[in-house]
């Protein structure tokens, strides 16, 4: 019985690991493909925007903090705070920058020469 359980756990582990590695490799390739097309002038908002995305660790942080207990809860709570700084700060600061880049109205284009 125990051996059977171990065996099924092992195969389950293998397929789970394989799936995770597959997702990882394909996402990396997708990322390389998409990011290569970002123009140099948007590289700073790209970095702050990806900061916000790396705040996805919030998922793990919420699960850890929610499970409670002094040790896990405390570490989870600090993790929630750190990840939330990334999420909230990252999206807000990126928006602030992108507003400057494209959001405002252009006053005429090219050479604006008011004097005739």
């Amino acid at each position: 019985m125990i051996e059977m359980a171990a065996l099924s756990a092992a195969t389950g582990m293998h397929s789970a690991l394989l799936m995770a590695v597959t997702i990882f490799v394909l996402s990396m390739l997708l990322g390389l493909e998409v990011i290569t097309k970002v123009p140099t002038q948007l590289h700073t908002p790209l970095m702050s925007g990806s900061n916000a995305i790396s705040g996805i660790t919030i998922i793990g942080a919420l699960l850890a903090a929610g499970a409670g207990g002094w040790l896990g809860g405390t570490f989870g709570m600090i993790a929630v705070a750190a990840a939330m700084i990334n999420v909230v700060g990252g999206y807000l600061v990126t928006d602030r920058m992108l507003k400057m880049f494209g959001g405002r109205k252009r006053k005429g284009k090219g050479k604006g020469n008011g004097n005739a």
Partner: protein, 484 residues
């Protein structure tokens, strides 16, 4: 709510992240993209909070939040959101590199802490071979290795980013790299020791305390690897740490077996890799050279004794030259950020344009302290992005430029990089400003740039030095032009 709702929500979030990054390909679409990314994150957070787990005894499903979990979540979320919002709304555009460095660090810290909590959350029995009839299931080894890697990357990212932040904020002297004897040996020894501990833990998963020395060694490695790196190499370091913060989240995804984390983490990881590569190419240096080369230690001092002649102009001379120009290219560098001269530059550009002069900006990818640093500053000063040219565009246009204003840039315009002589910047792709009619360099002195290489541009026949503070000098030139 059905069990499959949560994985679907993570998938939707991941798709929105990809859409957000895709829309970064143009300034016109980027802002809405960013908003969509934020919506994706909100979906991920809300559905995570709805996660239910089954009681192993009764089989009844209930929320995963227990034992005061709500309090921990609420306090963390409120504090984190407040701090994040405050930082994001108060930071000046010139302080953006520090800000990004700090955010990278928090990403790494969060991942490091999550896996730490995760490994201690499990009962000791889960790591006890006896409980499994003598041999642990493979799952445990997988878990331990994933936790170890996540800890390693997370803590390196955290402390490395803190050092990068301190350097950018100039809490520590950032101009010259900090080196000590046997530095490389110490760094690699540290890394080797960490790997040994990880292998050891993988061999004896029950020894969970090993995660603590692994975290401490990783934290030390982050400090030691970042400390020797000089200021102008910061664009590479920030990009690399950006990548690490994503990979840390990714490794956490392996620990939690959560595809949402793996996808989002890899996107950030690959983004950082792309930026790191662009920065390295922009300096014609390998990543290894940036990390271990400690370039910038040599200060040329008095030079080789040969007295070279340079031309020195007053702001009035500069104004005359600009009055006669029909196409002006402005090349900003870190000096513009230090002097906070972006608004003064915009005023000068406006005046020139009012007089029918075409003005464009030539931006080298490694100018400043982070990728895109100059672009953000000029965008803040409301310079339309159509006027900003990257290195290739700039070099195509420089031939027809009557006048180039180099403001606080140095190594990226040094013609010595094109020559076949030994120098730290040999082969670095530069902006060929010397091909323009006249080059005026606004700078405090003739001192060499970060790489410690004397700039041949300063002594060329078509170059004139306008000495002084970047902002004040630009303002003086603008005034002189208005007066004429």
């Amino acid at each position: 709510m059905p069990d499959w709702a949560i994985p679907i929500a993570y998938l939707v979030a991941a798709v929105l992240f990809v859409v957000a990054l895709k829309r970064m390909s143009s300034p016109k679409t980027a802002r809405l993209g960013n908003l969509l990314g934020a919506v994706g994150m909100a979906i991920a957070i809300v559905f995570t909070l709805l996660t239910r787990e089954r009681d192993p005894l009764t089989g009844a499903a209930g929320t995963f939040i227990r034992d005061g979990g709500w309090a921990f979540i609420l306090i963390g979320a409120v504090v984190g959101s407040a701090v994040g919002a405050f930082l994001a709304l108060s930071v000046k555009m010139t302080g953006m590199p520090q800000m990004v460095a700090m955010f990278n660090g928090f990403g790494g810290l969060a991942s490091g802490l999550v896996v730490f909590a995760e490994i201690w959350r499990r009962p000791a029995m889960a790591f006890d071979a006896a409980a499994f009839g003598g041999s642990l299931p493979g799952e445990v080894y997988y878990l331990v290795i994933a936790v170890a890697l996540s800890t390693l990357i997370g803590w390196v990212t955290f402390t490395g980013s803190l050092i990068a932040f301190a350097k950018l904020q100039e809490f520590v002297v950032s101009g010259r790299p900090f080196t000590f004897p046997m530095q490389r040996l110490a760094n690699f020894g540290l890394l080797g020791l960490t790997v040994v501990l990880i292998v050891l833990w993988a061999a004896f998963p029950a020894q969970r305390w090993l995660v603590i020395p692994i975290a401490l060694l990783a934290a030390a490695a982050g400090v030691l690897f970042t400390i020797p790196i000089g200021g102008a190499d910061m664009p590479v370091v920030i990009s690399l740490l950006n990548s690490y913060s994503g990979l840390a989240a990714c490794a956490t995804g392996f620990v939690l077996q959560n595809p949402g984390l793996i996808i989002a983490g890899s996107l950030v990881g690959s983004s950082g890799i792309v930026l790191t590569r662009i920065m390295c190419v922009g300096m014609n240096r390998s990543l290894a050279n940036v990390l271990f080369g400690a370039v910038g230690g040599v200060v040329a001092g008095g030079g080789d004794g040969e007295v070279k002649r340079h031309t020195s102009w007053t702001p009035q001379d500069a104004a005359i030259a600009l009055n006669n120009a029909s196409f002006v290219v402005i090349v900003p560098g870190y000096g513009m950020a230090v002097a906070q001269a972006q608004h003064a530059v915009k005023d000068l550009a406006n005046l020139l344009e009012q007089r029918g002069v075409e003005v464009k900006f030539g931006i080298h990818e490694v100018a400043g302290r982070m990728p895109g640093h100059m672009n953000v500053l000029l965008a803040e000063a409301e310079v339309p992005y159509e006027k900003l040219m990257d290195r290739h565009e700039t070099n195509n246009e420089l031939d027809r430029a009557d006048c180039v204003i180099v403001l606080g840039a140095n190594d990226v315009v040094n013609p010595v990089a094109r020559k076949d002589v030994a120098s730290p910047i040999k082969g670095m792709p530069i902006l060929d400003v010397d091909k323009a009619g006249t080059v005026m360099v606004i700078k405090r002195s003739l001192n060499p740039g970060f790489a410690g290489v004397d700039n041949e541009l300063f002594y060329m026949d078509n170059t004139a030095m306008v000495f002084g503070d970047g902002k004040k000098t630009i303002q003086a030139i603008t005034e002189a032009m208005k007066a004429s």
